[in-house]
Point group: C2
Chain length 409, copies 2
């Protein structure tokens, strides 16, 4: 009897064509970032659990998959009966930022003063599975550590827009705001110090509950004065806005390269993570209902591991959402199925030789023994992305003289 | 204060140049296999724990990192106090073979009749860390499921020798044996049925304890007759051996392509895993003290998930050992550091434009603000694999007209 053979809940197998497509998109993003001088790194999938739950990961900390202790340490933890927290010592990373800041602290002596890091890879979150949300998914991060200047932001946005364009998402735009502008705003609205976090959460909901909803919620949380001033502000920002001084240089540099429109100043952009200290970004695409990435400046976070502060800014492309927007583009032009007329050693020998000649000519070459129904095989090979075939018999024919026939699909 | 910032025990960070080298080697292996018509797949890092501990993984099952249940399920498991086995529901894969057989069972309807799979990726084992042995490491597997013929073995060995040659390991050889030959041998030695597994374990130690050791251990485990016949056999196989009929076609096909010497018949090759049913392989290299990969035919294993048997054969390159043998080859010929004379917007604009021109010309291009000591920066950039630099000022100069200067390293 066949057993239940699904991958774990919320996790995915990738079929060959889908894997190919994902690899093409990821490779394009990585090569674009490498071209911009970012240096690729790798950190382990696991980090010490203590580090993953130290307050740097925001709400994601609660979603970390925890790995049980082993051997004597597990025995001792079970015996002490101290509850679940004591039973695990490692966790799967839920983002690439916490591992990056740990990596920088570990390896700083061997890294350049300004460290421009590229890291891509899977992360894991024990979320309730739902459509389009997975428990293992890929992130693509670039970060610059050690540069407090606006050049860092410009490089990140410049490289990211190039990467998005390179994978075919030339309509992607990036909304930009600055935490200092948000702080000034809350001051002007008269939000009391203790309520600022809560007020930002309300403003962040603008997309979902519209201006009326935001005003109503602020009235509820604070008072009529705050709500009234917020209503006036929301009204004032409905049209075209001047770019504030804090962001002017970024906009000038990016618009000089990409023209207007790829960056948009959005004074209502909040982004949830508490660790942002300056600019914040969110990547959008007209065909996606939700953001396809984001980031910002987090000058305080690296210091947590390092002991001394280091300025840092990063941006992350949400690979799963981005790849869903990219059209599949299977290139079967240089792929070939060699059908062996028989399993005789001389035929196998001929096939291996022709295969090597074709590989040297840039082809993907698959060997297949002739089945009873050749058409069924060819249909299947076409489905798998192979574009042509030829038969191989006992007489040797060089690849250059072989007649390749298209496989209809 | 800086906290302890090491990666978890037995796991590694990769610095940029090492990451680049690993990526080059892995890409070369993958592209070679793709050229041979293997189709790349991906499975999740986690599998249901029940599957990872169902007897398919041999000794590695004991080394699986186990992931704790979450939420109400964890509460209930803790309350029931049923011991540690009840607390985890997922595990990190310890090889790529168990996930592959599960994947095949899950997705068979969408795969071709003969499925030629390529999978590379990290696996995790909770081994006692020691030199050269890691708790997260990369494997590169190719497998052919659904082909019982010797063509499958020939394709695997042919593609693997090509892949090893492509990464610079042209001196790698593959030892080959067949479980049927081993079974016949044990019969001839007069090993009783119940002792055959134990006798294979002894023969497998030949490298370590030499012929005398094997004979002595067999005498101890069985009787003087077995030991005497084993001694005669070990003596007889010391010279050049005829290739047995079971392996003749494989050797002919591979020798026709690579000449003699890349395959070696080794009647003492056992390989530990109990699931092998036919040919077995082990990859060696003169500069490596231990094997750098291996595999074999495992016709019974896929049926465990599928309900019906499917023939299967695979070979795995141990990436970590292979990459250690490959010489680092940093190509800094098309890499450039653009040093910005100042942070003035016009200089930044010029730098972004020249950067793009240089990227279009195939360069990796890194922007750096001029530090007080330019030489320190250039030394650091040379260490990071950058080969040339140029300065960018307020006057715009096209990349083609820019004078690039070598960075000495």
């Amino acid at each position: 009897m066949a057993k239940d053979v699904h991958p774990p809940r919320g996790m995915r197998d990738f079929l060959p064509l889908e894997k190919t497509r994902r690899d093409q998109v990821l490779t394009t993003i990585r090569e674009t970032y490498l071209g911009h001088g970012f240096q690729e790194i790798e950190t382990p999938a696991l980090e010490d659990l203590e580090r993953l739950t130290s307050g740097q990961g925001g709400d994601n900390e609660k979603l970390a998959f925890r790995v049980m202790k082993r051997g004597a340490e597990l025995e001792s933890a079970l015996a002490s009966n101290n509850g679940e927290d004591n039973l695990a010592d490692l966790g799967l990373r839920y983002d690439l930022t916490v591992p990056l800041t740990r990596y920088y602290a570990t390896n700083r002596a061997k890294l350049p003063t300004v460290f421009k890091a590229l890291q891509t890879g899977p992360v894991w979150r024990a979320e309730r599975p739902q459509k389009g949300r997975y428990r293992q998914f890929v992130q693509c991060d670039i970060d610059i550590i050690g540069d407090a200047s606006i050049l860092a932001e410009i490089e990140l946005l410049n490289a990211s827009l190039d990467a998005l364009t390179a994978i075919g998402l030339k309509d992607a735009t990036i909304r930009v705001n600055h935490r200092v502008l948000l702080a000034n705003l809350l001051e002007q609205l008269g939000v009391p110090e203790a309520g600022k976090g809560s007020a930002m959460i309300t403003i962040d909901k603008l997309d979902k509950i519209a201006a009326e909803g935001v005003v109503a919620e602020l009235a509820e949380k604070f008072d009529a004065g705050v709500a009234e001033r917020a209503a006036a502000w929301l009204n004032a920002i409905a049209g075209d806005l001047p770019i504030p001084a804090e962001l002017q240089e970024i906009f000038s540099a990016i618009e000089a390269r990409f023209g207007a429109g790829r960056l948009r100043f959005d004074p209502t952009l909040v982004r949830g993570m508490g660790y942002y200290t300056g600019t914040i970004f969110e990547i959008e695409h007209p065909e996606s209902g939700s953001s396809i990435g984001g980031g910002g400046r987090y000058d305080g976070m690296v210091g947590r591991w390092l002991g001394t502060d280091a300025p840092a800014v990063g941006i992350s492309i949400g690979f799963e959402r981005a790849v869903d927007l990219v059209e599949a583009n299977v290139d079967n032009s240089k792929s070939l199925v060699l059908v062996l007329d028989s399993a005789a050693p001389v035929v196998i020998g001929n096939a291996l030789n022709v295969q090597q000649q074709a590989i040297d000519a840039g082809y993907r070459v698959r060997l297949e023994q002739r089945p009873k129904k050749l058409n069924n095989l060819l249909d299947s090979m076409a489905e798998q992305g192979f574009g042509s075939f030829a038969t191989i018999g006992e007489e040797f024919v060089n690849f250059a003289d072989l007649s390749l026939r298209n496989i209809a699909n």
